[in-house]
């Protein structure tokens, strides 16, 4: 009996060894699996779509992609994640969904996958992932709950993450001898000088549409000008001097911007810049590839890129997407393999070469990438100043964000006084936070 057991164990071990030495294919057990993933319609994920066939060829795992508009994605995911058995094996989530999903315990903690020797690639090199992104998008449970810290852990990996840079028209700046803005004062001066010296061209194209877009544009200026939405004890400080300065900056930019700027969403703003109706565009790095594409852009080759100008401090946005495995996914292990493959050094570089946003420092330093996209070095530099706390990632944020957005829209279109608008926001934010229990310990 004992002999028999010995024999079978040895045989099994031998078999196992054989399979690992002969084939050495960690993907083999999952060959033929079909993963259903949910990605947004976004330049980065369009690049991913071009790279995915490579993954299927290499691993035999098929991937079915459900692409949705990025603001609609969250609604769909919320429905999917509350089901007993979800349809999605891997989701890309907008950064501000992190709070909701993690709080509702709907995302897999990634520790158990990185601990699993059969799944985790020892050459993955997680240290190479961009810190600001991982902190902002991947980790929850540390400082203030939504930031990393000693009590935090990893729920997602940044993929398609973004920071902000200033894109400007080299030809126009040179023609009129305007220096590339390094501070906010210079930025605002240039924004209003351009329409004077170059009729028909607005200073800077910015998001401004009522709601999320106006709020995003305001927060973009709030962090570098030294402001925050809340202090360390969740008291709203959005209406302090820095807040008013940010609102005024946004108003100046929109007033000196191209025609119709008051209702621009990101797509319209980017279109205005790429059609030559604005001389500057300060938003996510994700738009750069579109500006350099001559079939879509009239300004290809004329665009320079600079760091997000400095106000009181340097602070560019962090945002975009991360990828995570839902707790109710049906093929979690294969999903992890896809996740790891996409964010590996090789995968990240492939996606970047196809026009995506790198998640790794090494990708930004890659010579081939810099040759194809000369702005990569500037973007890598900008990431050093990426501010993971430029907006709070808390479950009540949706409501406060919308309120900031409508109030800002009123400032931009109806001439509401910025101080008055922000006082109103602060007062309502306090009530929302109170109701949600943020002052329980005060």
């Amino acid at each position: 009996m004992l002999n028999f057991l010995k024999y079978t164990t040895a045989a099994a071990a031998g078999l196992a060894m054989m399979s690992s030495t002969v084939l050495a294919n960690p993907y083999e057990p999952y060959e033929g699996t079909t993963l259903v993933v949910n990605f947004p319609a976004h330049p980065h994920y369009n690049a991913v779509m071009r790279v995915l066939p490579e993954f299927t060829k290499e691993t035999g795992i098929r991937v079915e992609v459900d692409q949705l508009q990025y603001l609609k994605m969250r609604e769909r995911q919320t429905l999917e994640l509350t089901k007993d058995e979800g349809d999605y094996d891997l989701i890309a989530y907008v950064v501000f969904s992190k709070a909701d999903y993690v709080f509702a315990d709907q995302l897999e903690n990634l520790a158990r996958y990185f601990m699993n020797p059969k799944l985790s690639d020892p050459k993955y090199d997680a240290d190479d992932l961009i810190d600001g992104y991982v902190q902002n998008i991947g980790v929850a449970g540390g400082t203030k709950g939504y930031l990393p810290g000693k009590t935090g852990s990893l729920y997602g990996i940044p993929f398609g993450s973004e920071t902000s840079v200033l894109a400007y028209r080299k030809d126009i700046f040179e023609k009129h001898g305007i220096a590339v803005p390094e501070t906010y004062d210079q930025l605002l001066d240039a924004a209003c000088k351009i329409p004077e010296v170059e009729p028909g061209v607005g200073g800077m194209a910015s998001r401004a549409a009522s709601g999320h877009q106006a709020s995003h544009a305001f927060l973009l200026h709030l962090a570098p000008l030294g402001g925050r939405v809340f202090d360390g004890e969740w008291n709203p400080i959005i209406n302090n001097e820095a807040g008013v300065a940010a609102a005024n900056a946004l108003k100046t930019i929109v007033d000196c911007g191209p025609e119709g700027a008051q209702t621009f969403g990101p797509a319209e703003a980017a279109a205005a810049f790429s059609q030559g109706q604005a001389a500057m565009f300060m938003d996510s790095i994700a738009f750069a590839a579109g500006f350099e594409d001559p079939s879509k852009s009239k300004v290809a080759g004329k665009v320079g890129y600079a760091l997000h100008p400095e106000g009181v401090r340097r602070g560019s946005q962090t945002g975009g997407f991360g990828i995570a495995i839902p707790q109710n996914a049906q093929n979690k292990e294969a999903a992890f393999l896809l996740m790891q493959w996409l964010t590996s050094k090789k995968g990240d570089l492939m996606v970047a070469m196809a026009g995506g946003n790198p998640s790794r420092f090494s990708t930004y330093e890659d010579a081939g990438l810099n040759e194809k996209y000369p702005y990569s070095a500037t973007f890598g530099e900008a990431l050093k100043y990426a501010d993971p706390d430029w907006r709070p990632i808390i479950p009540t944020w949706g409501k406060i964000n919308a309120d900031i957005g409508t109030s800002m829209s009123k400032v931009l279109t109806e001439g509401l006084d910025p101080q008055e608008a922000l006082d109103g926001v602060a007062e309502r934010a306090r009530a929302i936070m109170d109701e949600a229990g943020y002052y329980t310990w005060n």
Binding site: R74, E75, T78, L79, L81, T82, D100, Y101, F103, A104, Q106, A209, S210, G211, H212, A214, P258, E259, G260, A261, Q262, T263, Q277, P395, G398, K399, N401, A402, D403, T406, S409, K410, L412, T413, E414, L416
Partner: protein
């Protein structure tokens, strides 16, 4: 005895399938919504995990400035839109109620806007309203006028949304009033003509009063629809600038998806439902009254004989 019972039950048995479908398809969702409006329910929770908060959502909403503004925008929008549509629709019907060659083709043309999907209508108008490349501003500019901030100024945006809605829904009123006009008793019209009534007098004293029952129903149907308009506004302005075009249905959808407060969204829907219910009751009541009136008139006429 047994037989009599079965006989008495027969009608109910025939009704049963309809009742079952009604309960499942209509009452269950409404009951679900009413129940949800008493909950503090986040979409990440299942309904069972949500906390019961009684009337808190309803009370909070009454104190919520944005909700009140959105309600007033909705009332204003529905009122103006339905008034304009009635005016233009009935006017067109009166003008076109005659034998013109190719009338049926013309009629089809007139009701085309109504048949276009609302999202497409929104997109179409949005491009026409575009500040630089839109047809309106380009025409204005080429004629030497100042361009108009169609969608980027609060009151203009509200006007723009109204124009788009009037364009889309006037045909609905037109087609119904035309049908009503064509089924008017010719004898009354002939009699008035013999008595020497002018065209205006005919319209004012004969056509409009006789059309009234149809017009009232049409008007109420449009009102109910106008309260629920969503897609066109969503695409055109998404509620902005500020809250100037944030109609109630848009606010409900944002509360559910953006603010993630399903309970509050349900309470808002119930407020809307109450308003609509009042309108429907008014319609019902009007029908009853006018029926009674005709019955009385007929009785009086028969008495005269």
């Amino acid at each position: 005895m047994q037989m009599a019972n079965v006989n008495r039950l027969t009608p109910y048995m025939f009704l049963a399938p309809a009742v079952v479908i009604l309960v499942i398809a209509l009452l269950y969702p409404i009951g679900y919504m009413i129940y949800a409006s008493f909950l503090d329910w986040n979409p990440s929770q299942r309904i069972g995990e949500a906390e019961f908060v009684g009337l808190r959502n309803y009370i909070n909403l009454l104190g919520d400035e944005s909700f009140r503004e959105s309600l007033s925008v909705t009332l204003k929008f529905a009122g103006i839109v339905v008034f304009l549509e009635m005016l233009v629709g009935v006017g067109l019907a009166l003008l076109l109620d005659r034998n013109i060659r190719g009338m049926s083709a013309l009629r089809t043309l007139f009701i085309l806007p109504m048949m276009i999907a609302p999202i497409v209508v929104g997109l179409m108008w949005r491009y026409m309203y575009h500040p630089t490349v839109g047809i309106f501003n380009r025409t204005l500019k080429s004629l030497g006028f100042e361009p108009v901030p169609w969608l980027s100024d609060g009151s203009w945006a509200f006007t723009s949304v109204i124009i788009a809605d009037v364009w889309q829904w006037t045909p609905f009123i037109f087609i119904l009033s035309l049908a009503a006009l064509q089924s008017l008793p010719q004898s009354a019209l002939e009699a008035s003509r013999i008595d020497g009534a002018t065209g205006w007098q005919q319209i004012w004293h004969i056509k409009l009063p006789l059309m009234m029952p149809v017009l009232i129903v049409t008007c109420l149907l449009r009102l109910i629809d106008a309260f629920k308009v969503l897609e066109v506004v969503l695409v055109l302005t998404n509620g902005g600038p500020g809250l100037s075009t944030e109609i109630l249905s848009l606010r409900i959808s944002r509360t559910a998806s953006e603010f993630r407060e399903l309970g509050e969204a349900a309470a808002m829907s119930n407020y809307l439902l109450i308003v609509l219910l009042l309108l429907t009751l008014a319609m019902f009541f009007y029908n009853k009254v006018s029926e009674m009136r005709t019955a009385r008139l007929r009785a009086a006429a028969e008495g005269d004989d």
